[in-house]
Symmetry: C2
Subunit: 206 residues, 2 copies
């Protein structure tokens, strides 16, 4: 079984324990006859997959999660399905932070992803168009523009995660998940979280 | 004396205790012969002012501040000059947070402004293009997309300001300054902070 998670920047694939990403307009041809079970938050990129592969099955509706939240993205649902208790941080184009307790989703929120922040500062003023410096000292007040921006982005995301986590276990996933995980003790980084949740949900149906 | 602060969205004017803003390409004609003392962080908008008024004096270099920070915007310098002890939050196109102690600037950082956040979410995905809801409950985990975005933006900015302020007095200024001030007890909102600092600095020179 080949699994695929169609996001807002990449398509992520999972097959036999391997995970890889592909750009929507440069998809490689997958093995003939191997069905692709996919979830999607992006219709345009979904059409890219469908146009190039014959056996694609949209399983969005099979990813069920106990929650009061209306309009929860299917990728968030899948990642949350993989964790019964903890905070799930998916750091990609956007950063989503969700809380699970005894198999129930308690709610969550959305921050912009690192790339979006970078672009946003550049849009405000040419002077602010800087890279986010991963090594910026978050314990000292910044003394230049570059640090001032990196500090503003990273510390605000980290304070939010700390404020949400309290005593809960943290699970990081997504492109920048590994980077953020290192700011927290005992955090787990697992880039297959969405696929683990998909598998768990699909076992019931397929 | 007419004062002007040229920012990245508007030109703010100050005359005899009155303050108002104008768009760079729709400037009203000021009284003939009245000199305009201005500071500017935007060369393009500065040219708009110079093209339409004869007596304009750039006073950027007169706004001095004791600081180790390199590249501090002149508007931040001016606002900081107005406060000897406290945290200065200028919430405009960007949100700058600066700390003053005994007349010395200890450092500061930059977050995106509310409008930028809104635009940034919309750029990530059409689904995320929502208004920031000022009344969102910041004590409960959000249960829908709109709240999830407002919570992510507002709570992260507020947590950062709280983390910086500790026991210091908070001074808010800028277009969204009044809005943010209401989240903090005993906060001061003063939309003339930049001009007060300009006046203080200019008294030495003019």
């Amino acid at each position: 079984m080949l699994l695929c998670d169609i996001g807002n920047t990449f398509l992520h694939f999972y097959h036999k324990g391997k995970i890889w990403k592909e750009k929507p307009y440069a998809l490689t041809k997958k093995k003939e006859g191997l069905p692709i079970y996919y979830i999607s938050v992006n219709e345009r990129f979904e059409r890219c997959l469908l146009a190039s592969h014959s056996y694609c099955i949209n399983v969005n509706e099979h990813i069920e999660l106990k929650t009061q939240y209306s309009g929860l993205g299917v990728d968030r649902k899948a990642a949350c399905r993989a964790v019964d208790d903890g905070v799930i941080i998916d750091a990609g184009s956007a950063i989503t932070i969700d809380v699970m307790q005894e198999g129930i989703h308690l709610g969550g929120y959305i921050m912009p992803g690192l790339e979006s922040y970078k672009k946003m500062y550049a849009d405000i003023s040419r002077v602010l168009g800087r890279d986010i410096e991963p090594g910026v000292d978050l314990t000292q007040l910044p003394q230049n523009t570059s640090d001032a921006i990196s500090f503003g982005v990273l510390k605000s995301i980290i304070l939010m995660i700390k404020n949400t986590s309290r005593t809960k276990k943290l699970y990081f996933t997504g492109g920048d998940g590994k980077f953020f995980a290192r700011f927290f003790e005992d955090a787990i980084y697992d880039n297959t979280l969405v696929f683990k949740g998909m598998q768990k949900a699909l076992q019931k149906h397929i």
